[in-house]
Symmetry: C2
Subunit: 214 residues, 2 copies
Amino acid sequence: MKLYTYFRSSAAYRVRIALHLKGLAFESVPVHLLRDGGQQHAAGYAAINPNETVPTLDDNGQILNQSLAIIEYLDETHPNPPLLPGSAADRARIRAIAQIIACDIHPINNLRVLQHLTRTFDLREAQKAEWYCHWVERGLQTVEKMLASDPRTGRFCHGDTPTLADCCLVPQVFNARRFGCSLAGLTTVERICAECDELDAFARAAPARQPDAE
Amino acid sequence: MKLYTYFRSSAAYRVRIALHLKGLAFESVPVHLLRDGGQQHAAGYAAINPNETVPTLDDNGQILNQSLAIIEYLDETHPNPPLLPGSAADRARIRAIAQIIACDIHPINNLRVLQHLTRTFDLREAQKAEWYCHWVERGLQTVEKMLASDPRTGRFCHGDTPTLADCCLVPQVFNARRFGCSLAGLTTVERICAECDELDAFARAAPARQPDAE
């Protein structure tokens, strides 16, 4: 398998965690989102990812886009350990936590939105950080409420093994720290991230450990 | 089943389509996103949806949030007709199309982001519409490329029966038209939406047909 990735992309980071949790070997193909006007926009890459974003997974010629779709595919093709364990209702809860991060926090803050905001409204760095942290803090507070109020939360977001929800949570919290957002009150979120940090799969997926890390 | 919905919410619209495709009866509970400072923020609703968004599905006491997670749940608990048919790769493609809409177009443009943009940057209506259409047009062009270039596209986004991808596409195109965005070049997208319009499930889910329509 080949993963088209950028060390700092939190969507690529999610898939890296999932690949390592599944124990799957993969080759990292770096796509530098800032260099050459954004290598994700180059014709060769756009041909395999019309959205011009990372990650893309090439599974023996099968080309897959969008991080959550890729992780669901990995979970269907390599069921152990399961990243969506339990009943339909359990799986719905895991997906809902993942989607609050992947739909309601991350896309509003990713590079292309920040670039467009800066160009269109002529933002200063401080305003950009304020925009970023507004959505991250609001979104992670929601995740904290979901985790703290539900007996299905265990050592990890759902039960005592890592799931799709943890694959999304850890990269988002990593980014929140990088941008200096407040993590005040996120007791359960921080406890779970500390649990994940103990696992080799999460450690190996971290931005600093990637071949393209700067 | 009870669906907490707002007639104009495109996330709620997706779930309404899925429920009708599955032939499931449900009671609509309107949550007015603009009235009373946003009924989604009321304590009673926030208790069942900590993200304070619609939709929420109450399936006999089982509370479910996030539209794609809800549709996956419906597909697992009521498998016929399947909204994620085929192989793991087929399902990954259907999910990727759905997620480009649900992650990369809609969240940047939904009510809470537009409200925050307007408050923070003091936008005029024309600037708001420009922001909206920028992301919708870019995103739908991506979907068009994915659909037009892939032999797996059929009468609908994936094959000849409606899937999760169509549940997401139709509401997004509805909103694009409502905001006056350009649909230039979206030949496949428009053809598929016209196919969907022929089906009773899509017609019954449309905003104008909801009990809370204005």
